[in-house]
């Protein structure tokens, strides 16, 4: 079995995807998103934890099961179902912890928060004390631990902090685009800084490598979001009739959907490819590049397909009742979580140009 054969997920991965699909669908993501828009608090972590989903993709020596490809197909189903349980935030936190070598099994017993922020970590006392003015934390309220990537002027750190620790203050800020995935802002600091539960110092240049696994997860979630919007759009154009025929008969409609399908499949291939590239020990620059590209393409695709779904719905598309805005909210908020697509393309191009120079 060569590596690339796993690009077609094997029986184990397909079985996992099937189970996840059924279970996530039963959580009624669309209804939960609407409830969150009306001020409800999203939950669902118990179902996710009891289903063992938090352990997927975690190395076995850290008590986990499954491979990156399993994690990616599972997150794709979560995206497709508009899952509101904080699975993505936890996956991003765990991936980053694993990459930084600070993951602990007990971190998986509760939902995690994840964010990237500017600040400094003072390493004088060995464990690290964290000073961050504004950290936007995905999964914030209810998270048992925050995993933050702290970018300093000439260094970076991966830290895990307890939200209950002294010096962690919510600065408010409602989540406006997709409240089903809260992104509240916190200040970590005061005079002394917040004591880190775990900390790892890195050169700034290692950030994209550290984030590679998280990017594969975001890509998978967005591929699912895009695929969910595409399925819904296709179902609609088959059923809605104008001028005496299904609107899916019009070539202008067909071609836009064909392009959307092409983009979704390209994004899916890149997400699976990114998962496989991370399996190398240790993943190199090409894995970092693959994950940047997968993240960027999935981000653009999710936004584009959710927009197309809205257009093809006609006026119904701009109502609260239709699912279009739910896909659109999900797509837009998640798309820029780990950087704007243009910045990711740029970083990937730089890596490729450097590799080219080395190999010549």
């Amino acid at each position: 079995m060569t590596d690339w054969q796993l690009l077609a997920p094997d029986e184990d991965a397909l079985a996992l995807a099937d189970t996840a699909r059924a279970q996530f669908r039963s959580l009624h993501g669309a209804a939960a998103m609407r409830a969150a828009l009306d001020g409800g608090v999203p939950d669902g972590w118990e179902t996710v934890a009891d289903g063992g989903y938090a352990d997927i993709g975690i190395p076995e020596d850290l008590g986990g099961i499954g491979r990156m490809i399993d994690l990616v197909v599972m997150l794709e189903e979560a995206g497709r179902a508009l899952l509101t349980a904080p699975l993505l935030a936890s996956a991003l936190a765990y991936r980053t912890q694993v990459a930084a070598g600070v993951h602990r099994e007990d971190f998986r017993r509760a939902p995690a928060g994840f964010g990237i922020a500017e600040g400094v970590v003072d390493m004088d006392d060995g464990n690290g004390r964290c000073h961050v003015e504004r950290a936007r934390v995905l999964g914030g309220p209810g998270a048992a631990a925050f995993t933050l990537i702290v970018k300093g002027p000439d260094r970076a750190w991966v830290v895990v902090v307890d939200p209950e620790a002294e010096g962690v203050e919510p600065v408010g800020q409602a989540t406006l685009i997709d409240p089903s995935r809260p992104l509240p802002v916190f200040r970590l600091g005061g005079e002394a800084g917040v004591a880190c539960a775990e900390c790892r110092e890195l050169p700034l240049g290692d950030l994209d490598r550290m984030l590679a696994g998280a990017r594969a997860c975001v890509a998978a979630d967005l591929v699912g979001t895009a695929a969910g919007a595409l399925d819904a759009a296709v179902a609609h154009v088959l059923q809605r009739r104008q001028f005496g025929r299904a609107i899916g008969t019009f070539q202008a409609v067909k071609h836009r959907l064909a392009d959307a399908y092409t983009a979704v499949e390209q994004a899916r291939s890149l997400a699976y490819g990114a998962a496989l590239s991370l399996t190398g020990e240790p993943p190199g620059d090409s894995a970092t590049r693959d994950c940047l590209l997968a993240n960027a393409v999935a981000a653009e695709t999710a936004v584009r397909v959710a927009s197309l779904f809205t257009q093809l719905m006609g006026a119904m598309g701009v109502t609260f009742e239709a699912d279009c805005h739910l896909f659109l909210r999900r797509a837009h908020q998640t798309a820029c979580l780990l950087g704007e697509p243009d910045d990711l393309y740029l970083a990937a191009a730089r890596i490729e140009r450097i590799e080219r120079r080395i190999s010549r």
């Binding site: 060569t2 690339w4 054969q5 796993l6 690009l7 077609a8 094997d10 296709v234 154009v237 088959l238 025929r245 299904a246 899916g248 008969t249 019009f250 070539q251 409609v253 067909k254 071609h255 959907l257 064909a258 392009d259 399908y261 092409t262 499949e265 390209q266 994004a267 899916r268 291939s269 890149l270 699976y272 490819g273 590049r289 693959d290 940047l292 590209l293 960027a296 393409v297 243009d342 990711l344 393309y345 740029l346 970083a347 990937a348 191009a349 730089r350 490729e352 140009r353 080219r356």
Partner: protein
């Protein structure tokens, strides 16, 4: 790397000149090297690795054969002189040919000793291939052919042509077509090269057919069953064509990848093109893996569209990135022109979108 690919790499090391990678741009136009490569790879069983010994292959499994082809693409093996001979004609002869046809035609087609042209398009039948009007009437064991083909790649240099003709004018358009193996040296065949917009890698021609006699034994596949021959031989090509478009995309990006200085905007575009290239490669591999595992592979329907548009975006980027440097480097605009054909031949991008929408997404047939 698997054992077979390292064996193949060793074969390449033995065959290719030592400075091949370095002077690749020059070797691309080396007709002698390209011709010898095809024959040598055929004889050594590396040309079509999934076929049997003596057919240019070595009975490799699909995954191993794919690994070999990818290794070849990475090393940028010489471009075959008459791609459609190996890629389209040979598989059609192998699948549909009589014992006598296989015996006479298969080896020289695959080895590159005899070149092939594909006679499908006509002035009135482009995207709508089933509208073709060239006729063949069978009497006393001989077809008499009249009509015209156009855009026939390499017809001026080829020995043979898979000629699609109407043999049953009464039947519905798809049902009345047959495929004949035409000897282009036959009396009544006139080939007129068409001048292309730039120095195209391959020429194309008009082919006029005036009372051309073709023996009944030259029928390839069933009488009136030519549509099936066309579809299945193009499918064979479609399964593998992505390796070529991936290679062409990375090649077209080369000037941008190695340009001394790029603006941020250009780097962003380069990143997008890298995602195109990887999208083609990974989708090709993913669908191959699905087929190998016996799973449906609907995403293979995007490969022609994504692949051809990727080549085009890459060539455009490299030309625009070069700016005024392109005035001194004719290759850049020529590549751009060449890339424009990619979204036309083998089914235009619009036709690909129709196919994806109707066959893969299940939207209603027909285009009001």
């Amino acid at each position: 790397m698997t054992d077979v690919t390292s064996e193949f790499e060793a074969f390449l090391d033995g065959f290719l000149p030592a400075d091949y990678a370095e002077n690749y741009q020059r070797y691309r136009r080396d007709v002698k090297l390209r011709t010898e490569y095809q024959a040598t790879a055929y004889d050594a069983g590396w040309l079509i690795p999934e076929w049997g010994p003596g057919e240019g292959g070595r009975d490799l499994s699909v995954p191993d054969a794919l690994a070999v082809k990818l290794a070849g693409a990475r090393r940028r093996v010489p471009r075959l002189m008459n791609i459609q001979g190996v890629g389209v004609a040979a598989p059609a002869i192998r699948a549909f040919g009589t014992a006598a046809q296989r015996e006479r035609l298969l080896r020289p087609a695959a080895r590159g000793d005899e070149w092939w042209a594909l006679g499908m398009s006509e002035p009135g039948a482009g995207s709508d291939l089933a509208a073709l009007r060239t006729t063949a009437t069978l009497a006393d064991g001989v077809f008499t052919v009249n009509g015209q083909k156009v855009w026939t790649t390499q017809a001026d240099e080829a020995r043979w042509c898979t000629l699609y003709v109407r043999t049953d004018p009464e039947a519905r358009p798809h049902r009345g077509i047959s495929c004949l193996v035409l000897d282009l040296r036959s009396p009544g065949v006139e080939v007129r090269p068409i001048r292309t917009a730039g120095p195209a890698v391959e020429s194309f021609s008009e082919v006029f057919l005036d009372d051309v006699k073709v023996p009944e034994e030259a029928l390839l596949g069933p009488l009136h069953g030519g549509w099936g021959v066309a579809m299945s031989s193009l499918e064979h090509e479609r399964d593998m064509i992505w390796i070529n478009t991936w290679l062409e995309t990375t090649r077209a990006l080369e000037p941008t990848l190695t340009a001394p200085e790029l603006s941020e905007h250009q780097l962003v575009r380069l990143g997008r093109s890298l995602a195109d290239a990887e999208g083609v490669r990974l989708t090709g591999l993913r669908t191959a893996a699905q087929r190998w595992a016996g799973l449906p592979s609907p995403a293979s329907s995007i490969l022609k569209l994504l692949g051809s548009e990727s080549v085009q975006r890459a060539a455009l980027l490299s030309l625009e990135t070069a700016g005024a440097r392109a005035f001194d480097d004719p290759a850049l605009f020529d590549e751009r022109l060449e890339s424009l054909g990619a979204t036309i031949y083998g089914g235009t991008s619009e036709i690909q979108r129709n196919i994806i929408a109707e066959r893969t997404l299940g939207l209603p047939k027909g285009t009001p």
